[in-house]
Symmetry: C2
Subunit: 142 residues, 2 copies
DNA sequence: TACATAAACAATTATGATTATCGTTTTTTG
DNA sequence: CAAAAAACGATAATCATAATTGTTTATGTA
């Protein structure tokens, strides 16, 4: 596996991703950085996210409304995706999945690198909004 | 929720999906059907899959190499995605996820519609191939 | 520090899956 | 069967992501 060189912008992509828990899209990261670095390219975000993923520094959580969502926290944990506003929350309370990968490996004679556990539904916020206010997915909700 | 009318081709899409366990792409279904119905449109496959999904007759499993993969079996079960050949297998041996959705609902004050559990790794077939033979993803492996 | 090499960059273009449009055909309903 | 509604094929549009290109920036060595 290739070793990545240092670059200010590359670091910035990883920093932004690590500084948030919204599990953003590539575009969201781009928008955050183009204010700081006026010459920033969306391609740079995609390129580096995909390199980071290759290196195991970043993980993809789910595709929501056709856009990939990224997470800078690579320790195993589950996620909750709100079908209404598109927000993604971490689920850290499930520690009973230990040994699951090994069990699958034994039963199916395969090699398991990881698993993804994702719950889909309506988040607490949206649940308590009046249904008339249910906002369509937008940038704000990432 | 809208009730769907009958149409021969609509039925064919669902039948093809239900008759296989490869968790195909829309294109795969299209290729199967255009031999039987020479005038078949890929748009019809997409249109109906998305209607079926809306009706709960079909479920999307994962996006592999940029293509959505569909399943006609809607009872809760997990999947294994091979990162090498792109094949998807059913994992039916995990019955310990019962009550999981309710647990999340209580802990996070949300509404859980479903959850998706997906293992990623190298399938038994690919594991036993010599590494030189590791085929890139192609149509055949869908 | 200066040079050579490799990697990273912005900008642009290309790709390719999915969705929308629209005029025609099929299905439903009465 | 006729009118209305829905589904269709063909095609064009969208839009997220990937690849390309020429330039700039890091890195390693002398």
């Amino acid at each position: 596996m290739r070793k990545l060189n240092f670059s200010k912008k590359r670091d910035a992509v990883l920093s932004v991703l690590r500084s948030t828990n919204v599990h953003p899209t590539a575009e969201w990261i781009y928008n955050r950085l183009k204010t700081e670095y006026p010459d920033f390219s969306l391609g740079t975000v995609y390129r580096n996210l995909s390199l980071f993923k290759e290196q195991g520094l970043v993980v993809t959580v789910a595709t929501v409304n056709g856009q990939e969502r990224y997470d800078g926290v690579v320790t195993a944990h589950a996620h909750f995706v709100c079908n209404n506003c598109g927000s993604i929350a971490d689920i850290n309370c499930l520690n009973d999945s230990s040994g699951l990968d090994e069990r699958i490996e034994r039963l199916y004679d395969c090699k398991v690198d990881r698993h993804s556990l994702c719950f889909y539904g309506v988040c607490s916020n949206c649940k308590h909004e009046s249904s008339a206010e249910k906002a369509p997915l937008n940038d704000a909700s990432v």
